[in-house]
Amino acid sequence: MALASSAWTEPTGFTGTGGREKDGVGSTKAESRGARLGRVARAVGEATRPRRYSAGALVAHGVTGRPWRPAWRHHELGSTYDAVIVGAGVHGLATAYHLARDHGVRKVAVLDKGYLGGGSSGRTSGIVWSNYLTPEGVRFYDRSLRLYGELSGELNFNVMFSPRGHLTLAHSDASLRAMRWRAEVSKLHGVDSEVVGPEEVRRLVPLADVSSRARYPIMGALYHPSGGTVRHDAVNWGYARAADALGVEIHQGTEVLAISTAGDRVTGVTTNRGEVSTPVVVSCTAGWASLVSDMVGLSMPIITRPLQAAVTEPVQVLLDAVVVSGTLDVQVSQTDRGELVLGASPDPFASYSMRGSLEFTEEVAGRVLQLMPSVAPMRLLRQWSGLCDITPDLSPIMGPTPVEGFLVDVGWGTNGFMAGPAAGQAMAELVATSRTPELMAAFDLARFAEGRLVEERDAAGVGH
């Protein structure tokens, strides 16, 4: 970090003396860690905009060997912010970015107890789609999907948005009916989504066993050509870099321990790095949403359940589309590197555990082989688990709460990553204007008390 920042004042590169110092990674042993971080923070603070990324810049840097500027800076924790965002995942970072870009609110701190994008945003399989079942869902996710389509250019960071197509398979008349229903809702809202027959499934997914021999024969699918994948880490990094360039402070390793209130108003937060005063706290957490709400004495209708995933070793790319089967409870896609990414619905119990289970890998392997028998020799390389916060109607909770200044963007279940860009945009508008944007109005907290549930149950099952 230290030397990376000094590089800005030494455009010719590093001119150290010894073998190692030449590479700019040395540091004075005597200097304490705290002092070092402080020095870094000051040095980094001097720079503002990062250099734009482009093919030309890549060539220039490649030829000159000049290092890139840091994508974001480290800061001392300030004493006052206009808004504090809890959680440096896609929702928190997108909210901060839009606050700064669209509304000029730049005195914003994004706090995360770990590293940026290390929670659910770093554990998602990165699949995006918008052919949901409810009009509220379709409108919201369609906005998000469109924002994803433009995100690389918008953030000047390639998030590898890949609209490779999204197929939800039907294995019975009943599920075909449900697919047709979703297709009709989507079409009415201008989202491309149609029911296709087994022959088309065979064409789109050559690996699939479309024979009638299969135990759960593929009778058709809901095809959503504009769904696909995004490189999730890149989304986090891209937002972080762009937000940082606009003056937003991202504080990693900064855990919110308490939220202070005066009466029914938020006044600040206590962190492991000190106290901060702020009139607005936005909770953009997944997995810990109910714990953060507890800090202001607010109970959220949320159950936290682990969601597991796994990847295989790479093989040559054979699978273009994202394939989901609700009947078999499996989701499979192949990365450009050739790995199969496997997922299913959340574990059927409440837990904060982030350790993968053997049972998950056995089940998911069995299911994917029912769909694609020829991948049996592929080997599982890694499994992991994340947390998702599930609400009674499988729809999020967004907006103000009874505690003034405490806003939430939580309860996204398995759909949080997909919603990130649109949620950030909407939440930023809410923070800046105190008006609830129409797009998110249906997802307010009060609906649970008033019986206005947004029922996404039939679409939101295995999609994430």
Binding site: K22, E184, A365, P373, A376, G451, R457
Partner: protein, 965 residues
């Protein structure tokens, strides 16, 4: 000299510890050419014996890669074997006729056009993919196509042959992970203490590093082998790995074919791979140590090897790893490699001793003359280029001060990595020991997990074996002291003064990691994700310590502050086939299914069951029921037997209506809700004895409802005395429906008065049918006609069915299937859960208000149904008839208002042969539910048609006169 003989130019004379059987030579194919091999050879050792140096190309720059570790984890030796991708060539035994080819190269390993990526190498640093190809958006798909062409894995077979994978459960007292000296000693000690032991070894033989050692080690190994073999309580699994440890010592072991083992390679029904799931009282983790590569410029070149690789090649497979070697050594393994090389006739050009301050700067490419010599040794020509893998191999080394030495082999011995994966999974966090210059277990182990051998500490062999024996006894449940393991000092060597590869499989260099840190990705997790270091097939086993060291160096933090990445399961990759195991998911069949199919029924798979769809003319089947009598096989209908004094309490809890106080023989219809107040299932329950009830569910709801009842009984009300027994398949169920059904029943039923007064609608009786005693008869009428559901013991199902058919012939009896049943239900306006309801349909929406008794104290879903706004704003399920009686809208079509306001949907839609027109059910917004309203239905082709909301949901006989006859 024949070509084949020349190809074995690097095979050494017989070695004391060699594992090859020289009496049985065979051939394998590599790049389309034959190569000799012996039983015991790995693919790579056989090819290396013939001078092959390059086995793959790297993933990003497509540089040739050779042997690095000569073990399972060797990142450069992954090959395609026939239809099997990603085979670890330095581990997999060669077999006669094996067809081996390199992966992901085009057109060939020697000349790989993808290697043009090397030319733009400097532009392809870590994260470069995030910095370009962002615009124009229209070209994104093209960029994607290019990227995916560069994927480096193997190929799946185009026409997969079904392979056999299986699973096994085991319950050993002790599992020992690792069959080196410590693992063997621990296993023997545990077995001698009376424990049943499973000893799991990754390689094909027990012995670990003793196998490639000198005479003393081989003697010690022989002794340990005798000890293991003489203990009957030890089961040895070779070519197997403990790949995951979960709560309660639940262990996943991947077992691969091993000659002489429980799984043998070859044969028609050979098991390809097996998942052994073991619940062990104790787990002894003794995987030994993994030798760490050294980071320096050119460390990726074929010919740069670890000391253990050299020792394995020479001692196990009698392969001469090079001609002229330079050795960088910091430990005894390096020293032993020097001795082995000298004994094998390799000229050791220089021994650089890191303990005395020696170092190397970079590996150099070969001089032209050397390349020429190497080619001549292989017979020259294109073939030699191909075998050598181009010009990427080592030709020399540069030492500090600029001195250059020529060599074709550069050996490093710079330290070890403890593969603490299983310990991590047991809750431990390793710490960095500066003196030993490696991560060591932190000692916070879950109960029943012990570490032994090199992973835990150093020391002479005898001492390590003694310690392992003590640990083995502990594992077996005996008490005793475990001698402490000493830790030897070791120079901290991670990176030279130059940059080189850290992650070989991902082509991630230390330069990439440093750049990532500079760009802000300055924690090990971010740097790892940004560069993909440690995320490739070896999952950090080789590279994690170096990655941590480079990030630590770049950030100015210590190794311990930087930390390691979390080792997640699986430790060793395991095939999806073995994880899935053999899949047994049979389709359930009623005893009458064969009859149906013999009588022309179209089989339809519905959930777990195969059912008769129709027998040729569903409309005629409907009319048969309306005018005469029909039989339907309804065996899949769920049947739960409820016994005990507290059954009424259970029924009151799960059904929305009241159940207490019903008389014997009475039947009630009820709806169940989830806790969200959504319709879960519906059906009838009858009281058949003082404390005995029978519950029916929909076919799809059988398991759900059973689980639902059990979850309430086991979690909320364990004090209730209720036994739930699923009887679905114990009885065959036959619907006898139609105006002549009583006539038919009277001919076959004994002991039950069937008169309407004695056996009215919604009652249940027990008696004998067709001479079969113990049958239940329910008087129900879902078809809208007089009807009975007969439950007969399943073994009599076919007999009763055929008898009914026979005895009713003159009444016009006929079978009807699922299709006709759907029409009959729809004519009566009966809803089908899952079709006319969805995951959000409350009973009010399903127009089942009469079944919801909110004044009842409590029932599942009640809190959601009594809250504010409940009941009023819901959609309603109504009967609909399209204005055009000939039009049958497909299911489901949306009902809209204006351009795009969705106000409902058509849930069920059929042509009614009884009424001669189309009829529907639909969910509509409350303001559209008034009878007579004409709603707009959107057809799939976007045309809009009108449909009228009917007064009754039942399109036929709304008053229900017929079923009460």
């Amino acid at each position: 000299m024949t070509a084949t003989a020349r190809r074995e130019a690097r095979r050494l004379p017989r070695q004391p510890g060699e594992v090859i059987d020289r009496d049985r030579r065979f051939e394998i194919t590599w790049c389309g050419r034959p190569f000799p091999a012996y039983p015991g050879d790995t693919i790579v050792s056989a090819l290396a014996a013939s001078g092959v140096r390059a086995f793959s190309r790297s993933s990003r720059y497509h540089r040739p890669r050779g042997i690095l570790t000569a073990s399972f984890h060797d990142p450069g030796c992954t090959v395609q074997v026939g239809g099997e991708p990603n085979v670890r060539g330095a581990h997999r035994r060669a077999e006669p006729g094996m067809v081996v080819s390199p992966q992901g190269v085009w057109p060939s390993l020697g000349v790989d056009l993808k290697a043009v990526s090397q030319l733009v190498g400097p532009l392809m640093g870590a994260g470069s993919q995030y910095k370009t190809f962002m615009k124009p958006v229209a070209l994104l798909p093209a960029y994607q196509q290019v990227r995916k062409r560069l994927a480096n894995g193997g190929r799946l077979p185009a026409d997969p042959r079904p392979a056999c994978y299986d699973k096994r459960y085991a319950h050993p007292d002790v599992v020992v992970a690792g069959g080196g000296p410590a693992g063997m000693a621990a296993a023997v000690a545990a077995a001698r203490a009376g424990a049943g032991v499973m000893l799991v070894e990754e390689e094909y033989e027990l012995g670990g590093h003793l196998r490639w050692g000198g005479p003393d080690e081989l003697a010690a190994l022989a002794q340990l082998r005798v000890e293991v073999e003489s203990e009957a309580g030890i089961e040895v699994l070779t070519n197997s790995v403990v790949t995951g440890r979960y709560e309660g010592n639940w262990l996943a072991i991947v077992q691969r074919p091993a000659p002489g083992g429980p799984i043998e390679a070859g044969g028609p029904q050979a098991v390809v791979e097996r998942l052994v799931k073991a619940r062990a009282r104790s787990l002894v983790v003794a995987p030994g140590l993994i030798e760490r590569p050294y980071v320096f410029e050119g460390n990726h070149r074929p010919g740069v090897m670890l000391s253990t690789a050299v020792r394995r090649l020479i001692n196990l497979w009698a392969v001469k790893p090079g001609e002229e070697a330079v050795v960088l050594t910091a430990n005894s393994s390096g020293d032993a490699a020097v001795a082995d090389l000298q004994r094998a006739g390799v000229e050791v050009v220089r021994v650089v001793d890191a303990r005395r301050g020696g170092g190397i700067v970079r590996a150099l490419g070969p001089a032209r003359s050397r390349r020429q010599r190497a080619r001549e040794a292989l017979g020259g020509g294109l073939e030699a280029v191909l075998l050598l893998g181009g010009a990427g191999g080592v030709g020399g080394v540069e030492l500090p001060g600029g001195e250059r030495l020529e060599c074709d082999l550069l050996v490093t011995a710079v330290g070890w990595t403890a593969p603490t994966s299983l310990l991590d999974m047991a809750g431990d966090r390793p710490f960095y020991d500066e003196r030993a210059a490696r991560f060591l277990p932190g000692g916070r182990l879950a109960e029943g997990v012990l570490a032994a051998g090199g992973i835990a500490g150093d020391g002479p062999l005898d001492q390590m074996v003694e310690q392992a024996r003590a640990i083995g006894r502990l594992a077996a449940g005996q008490r005793g002291e475990v001698p402490a393991s000493p830790r030897e000092g070791h120079p901290a060597l991670f990176r030279s003064s130059t940059h080189g590869m850290v992650d070989y499989s991902g082509d991630v260099s230390s330069r990439d990691l440093v750049a990532a840190v500079r760009e802000g990705y300055d924690s090990i997790e971010l740097a790892k994700r940004y560069t993909t270091a440690t995320m490739g097939p070896s999952q950090g086993k080789l590279e994690v310590a170096n990655a941590v060291a480079v990030v630590a160096e770049a950030t100015g933090r210590t190794m311990d502050e930087t930390g390691t990445t979390v080792w997640r399961p699986p430790y060793a990759p395991i095939s999806l086939g073995a994880l899935a195991g053999p899949r047994h998911e049979p389709v359930r069949r009623s005893p009458m299914q064969a009859w149906h199919e013999a009588h022309g029924a179209e089989p339809v798979v519905e959930g777990q069951w195969v059912r008769p769809g129709h027998y040729g003319d569903p409309e005629a089947e409907v009319l048969g029921v309306r005018h005469a009598v029909g039989l339907m096989d309804v065996t899949p209908r769920g049947k739960l037997d409820l016994k005990g004094p507290d059954v009424p309490k259970l029924l009151d809890l799960v059904y929305a209506n009241r159940w207490a106080g019903r008389a014997e023989g009475a039947v009630g219809y009820g709806v169940m809700c989830t806790e969200e107040g959504v319709v879960l299932d519906h059906g009838v329950t009858g009281r058949v004895g003082p404390a005995h009830y029978l519950m029916s569910t929909t076919p799809a709801g059988e398991a759900t409802v059973w689980e639902w009842l059990e979850s309430w009984l086991q979690t909320a009300h364990p004090e209730w005395k209720v036994h739930v027994t699923p009887l679905t398949a114990a009885f065959a169920s036959i619907d006898v429906a139609g105006p002549r059904s009583r006539q038919l029943m009277e001919r076959v039923v004994e002991g039950v008065d069937l008169s309407p007064e004695a056996f009215p609608h919604m009652e249940v009786r027990r008696g004998s049918v067709c001479g079969v005693p113990g049958c239940y008869m329910w008087r129900l009428g879902s078809t809208g006609e007089l009807g009975y559901e007969v439950n007969v013991p399943a073994s009599y199902g076919l007999f009763v069915w055929e008898t009914l058919m026979d005895r009713g012939a003159d009444l016009g009896v006929g079978a009807f299937g699922v299709e006709a049943q759907g029409v009959l239900l729809l004519e009566k306006g009966h809803l089908m859960v899952g079709q006319d309801t969805d995951g959000s349909t409350h009973p009010f929406a399903a127009s089942l208000d009469w079944l919801v008794e909110l004044d009842k104290h409590d029932f599942a879903g009640r809190p959601e149904l009594v809250g504010p706004g409940r009941g009023g704003g819901h959609q309603r399920l109504v009967g609909l008839q399209p204005l055009d009686p000939a039009l049958v809208p497909p299911e489901p079509c949306l009902i809209v208002e204006g351009e795009a306001t969705i106000s409902g949907r058509v849930t069920s839609s059929r042509r009614s042969p009884t009424l001669g027109r189309s009829i529907c059910l639909g969910l509509v917004a409350p303001h559209l539910a008034t009878p007579g309203t004409v709603v707009t239905v959107v057809l799939p082709d976007r045309t809009r048609v009108g449909a009228r909301v009917m007064e009754h949901r039942a399109h036929f006989d709304p008053e229900g006169v017929r079923l009460r006859a």
